[in-house]
């Protein structure tokens, strides 16, 4: 198999047909304004609602179940680590797909279906807990306490770092490069947890913060001590975003958009014709995309300060939950086929981490079912639906928040700029999939 110039898949999805772009944009626009004008004027999701799940809670919280789940996840990472440290430097080494497909893309469906599973089984936490048990110290206690205002800012930087690794780093699919990044991730997170206590992992691990953020849209939500089956919209509405959440979401949306943007003819031609190094273009492009999202969203949300009784700078963090469905739509549209097809390849190669012909899990002989590629129209429909659907749910969340935060007579005017920003993201997302 030939190594692709970027990414780990040698095939991208076909450009979205332009008629889909137009139809999607018009649909997004009409629905947005319909919601703005005709929808409810008093908050609907004041309480999370849903149904308590006492039995599920008891099972999930039982020490034995926790121990088994953590041990299994840790063993999976250890196996992947074996492939990274002792495997062959070939694309058949499962570590590349493990990181860029299973971890990075797989954490989204895991978090949607299983809520805070990632956080509960994060191997970094397990390692740190183990070290603390050996040293007989409380994992919550560090040497220095983290300032409360730090929120998830370190993770936002970490997410930029991962985006850079995924989209800019030269030779990212070589072991030497990946080892450096993996080691840095492990050391920064575990050492940080020793210094600042376990809270550091929740503040700085890009994977856990990404997973926890997506899990806000899960049907499972912990309310008090109980797990509940909830309406994802009500659950998301109840999320109290930590400081830095806007930067996290901007990093996610910006890096996904940049991934598409690098596939436009304009970008390829400009970068390849330029005398400047590609890495410089990539770094600047990725940063620019993230900053565009951060600034436009922050300004759109801050506008609400003119109509509400809070200072303007508080609104972006209060409203950031409404961007999560858009992030989800982008991710599904961009990475669904990658997860489905390349995800299988990882499962197959996972049986043979060292490239010695092992068949540890019995998957080595299986073939990749790539029949999905024979339905390009189906893929295009799925992509357009993901982007537009994410947009609609985002608008609904934003509207709900706006009517809760602003006086009824000013809620429509107050949320208009944010609505326009979100329509902009959706049209941009569709255009990027059209990939001119």
């Amino acid at each position: 198999m030939l190594i692709p110039l970027h990414g780990i898949a040698s095939r991208r999805d076909l450009p979205l047909p332009f008629s889909f772009v137009v139809a999607g944009a018009v649909l997004a626009l009409v629905i947005s304004f319909a919601i703005l004008i005709f929808a409810w004027r008093t908050p609907r999701f004041k309480r999370v609602g849903g149904r308590d799940l006492p039995r599920v809670t008891a099972i999930v919280d039982s020490p034995v179940v926790k121990l088994i789940a953590r041990a299994l996840v840790l063993a999976t990472y250890a196996w992947a680590g074996l492939a990274m440290m002792a495997g062959q430097d070939l694309l058949t080494n499962p570590i590349f797909g493990f990181v860029f497909v299973w971890m990075w893309v797989g954490l989204v469906p895991i978090s949607l279906l299983l809520g805070q599973f990632w956080r509960a089984t994060n191997p970094l936490r397990t390692i740190h807990r183990g070290l603390c048990a050996i040293a007989r110290v409380d994992p919550e206690q560090g040497l220095i306490s983290l300032p409360a205002g730090i929120g998830v800012w370190p993770a936002a930087i970490g997410l930029f770092g991962f985006g850079w690794l995924e989209l800019v780093q030269p030779d990212r699919t070589t072991l030497a490069v990946l080892r450096v990044w993996a080691l840095a991730w492990l050391v920064i997170l575990v050492l940080g947890a020793i210094v600042f206590g376990q809270r550091w992992i929740g503040a700085a691990d890009p994977f856990e913060v990404y997973a926890s953020t997506i899990a806000q849209m899960s049907i499972f939500r912990r309310v008090g001590d109980q797990l509940r089956l909830v309406n994802p919209l009500a659950g998301l509405n109840a999320w109290r975003a930590p400081p830095g959440a806007t930067a996290v979401v901007a990093a996610l949306l910006g890096s996904t958009a940049f991934d598409s943007f690098t596939n436009t003819s304009w970008w390829i031609q400009t970068v390849q014709n330029s005398a400047l190094p590609t890495v410089l273009w990539g770094t600047a492009g990725l940063l620019t995309m993230i900053i565009i999202v951060f600034v436009t969203f922050s300004l759109g949300a801050a506008w609400m300060g003119r109509y509400g009784d809070r200072p303007a700078w508080e609104y972006p963090r209060l409203m950031v939950g409404s961007l999560l469905p858009i992030v989800l739509g982008y991710v599904v549209a961009h990475y669904a086929t990658l997860l489905i097809v390349e995800g299988q390849r990882v499962a197959i190669n996972f049986s043979d981490p060292l490239g010695r012909g092992w068949n540890t899990f019995g998957s080595a002989e299986m073939g990749v079912n790539s029949a999905i590629f024979n339905h390009p129209t189906g893929i295009a429909v799925m992509q357009a639906c993901a982007i537009v659907g994410g947009h609609v749910f985002g608008i609904i969340c934003a509207h709900e928040k706006a009517v809760a935060l602003l006086p009824p007579d000013r809620a429509v005017r107050g949320q208009l700029p944010l609505l326009l920003v979100m329509i902009g993201y959706t049209c941009a997302g569709l255009l990027l999939l059209f990939s001119p």
């Binding site: 030939l2 095939r11 076909l14 018009v26 031609q269 390849q272 429509v412 049209c427």
Partner: protein
């Protein structure tokens, strides 16, 4: 009363923005074609302009023509740059792709094809010819391995 005025205002805004979007969208489609044509001097790629004089370019809307005519891409690699430079080609699954390559340095052309991929060795100053077919739908890159540059992107439907 205020309700009906706001509805009308809303409808106007809707219509206005939709119109603007459609127009904006149209100009966005026109752009890539314009930018594509000058860089593809040696290759009959850019739709509208070169369709008439090129026997190899296949309009995306006529699948009947497609698989019979190969898609020929003339590639010139010189001074670290490639022509075409990241140009996109519409083609059909199963259609033959012919690469005519001239390079001022030894190089290796890689084409992803949905299967094992295609590799072609090119020696400095010696014109080389190669061909392959794309087996299934998708967007595939043709790359200069030594320069790490994308020469063309094949959108096979």
């Amino acid at each position: 009363m205020s309700r009906s005025t706001s509805t009308i205002r809303g409808a106007l805004i809707c219509g206005g923005v939709a119109l603007g979007l459609l127009l904006g969208g149209c100009s966005a489609t026109a752009e890539p074609q314009n930018t594509a044509s000058p860089s593809a001097v040696s290759t009959p790629s850019a739709p509208s302009s070169s369709a008439a004089e090129s026997p190899t370019w296949v309009p995306p809307s006529s699948p009947a023509l497609s698989s019979d005519h190969p898609l020929t891409i003339n590639i010139v690699i010189a001074k670290g740059k490639t022509i075409p430079n990241g140009v996109k080609y519409d083609m059909r699954v199963g259609q033959k792709v012919i690469l005519n390559v001239t390079s001022d340095a030894d190089d290796e052309i890689h084409a992803h094809t949905g299967g094992a991929g295609y590799e072609m060795q090119v020696q400095a100053g010696k014109p080389a010819k190669g061909s392959f077919t794309v087996d299934s739908p998708g967007s595939f890159e043709v790359e200069s391995h030594h320069l790490d540059k994308i020469i063309a992107i094949l959108n096979a439907r």
